[in-house]
Amino acid sequence: MTDTVVQEAFTALVRRGLRTGEDESFPALDDRQWEAVLELGKIQGVTGLLFSGVESLPSEVVVPEQIILRLMVEADRIMRRAEQVSKAAASLIKALEEKGLHPTVMKGPAVAALYPDPRLRESGDLDIFLRPGEFEAAVDALSLIDYHKDPDGNILYSWDGVPIDQHPRYFDLHSKKTIGQQADGSPESQLLMLSLHIRKHCMGAGVGLRQICDMAMAYRALLKQSDIQRLLELYKKSRSSRWNLLLASFIKEYLGDVPLPYADGTSLPDSDQLHKIVFSGGNFGHYDPSRRDALKKGGASRKIDTLVRMLRRIPFSLRYSRSELLPFLISLIRGNVV
């Protein structure tokens, strides 16, 4: 179990990095505790925010030199990677548009732009959405040779050294009884897309703090441009109202001063269930030891592990994504069999 002082320091630094909690006091840490904070940053995919957070600490706070050096090395790696992903995004979008297609960049670079320092948001792969009719056409348009489909129907390939995750759905919704899949570019759609993405991962292997920081930054940047009533209506139509209240509760408790689409006095649920998911497995659940082993083995081990995790999360899914659970499971089973 993580030392509570370490956890407190870690979340304080994340808030400082997000600029949502800059005047808070900071606990004194010993070398071992600083190492633990750095390790948490790696597990949760937020080392860039730790760099920024440490940068903002008052000068009287003692930060060990080896921690400073490691943060600089890591921040440099993160910034170089962010540039590579950004350049790949620009060239991929151009290549697709030149062939008459209409890609939308999801998450990644689009949400990094909402951070205080976009270069410090850790980048992994690049997610793009192409609507039906254009989704399969991208393979020919880009003359792709080395690509494959994952069980969720996404096409995966590499572009300029960056893994691309091409989605046939803008919203992570498999149930047909909710809303359509049109990416209308509105701030409400973007918020819903990010929220449903986090929920999908919570139903399976897990999700880390990085994705929830994305949601917090999206709320901060987009809520003021949003039609709040329309947003709440979208949450309702997508059967994600209860989930979004849980997400808001977590953001309010751990990520500081972030505007939320709920009136003051709205009762928010206890965020413990989401806290457990985030801190038990880290970034996409990859740091849960059994998940790590399954990923290393790959193939059938990985698929079985994903299924076992989904089954374990059934109580969570029944509470926060009931209408989505069965369609999602069927879609995954179909994707694995076909």
Partner: protein, 84 residues
Amino acid sequence: MRLKEDCRIISLRGHHLLTTGEKSLEVNQSFAEIWKIAAAESFSTESLTGKVMLEYDITKSEAEREVSNLIDIWRNHNLLEDND
């Protein structure tokens, strides 16, 4: 001459690191500003000497010595564009 394009200086709480993506060198705080200038733009030995004199308020001969040492360090670590 100038430092290679992939050289960057990153700073945190009074510490400075020159990185190339593959390796990194800690930069003495005393000359961090000059490393940043060399990373940002082309320079001649004379222009860099002038900048060092101004930045650190030292004599021309002291500045020439520091610049010569810096260029040796950059050359030894294969950080200069003309190293190739």
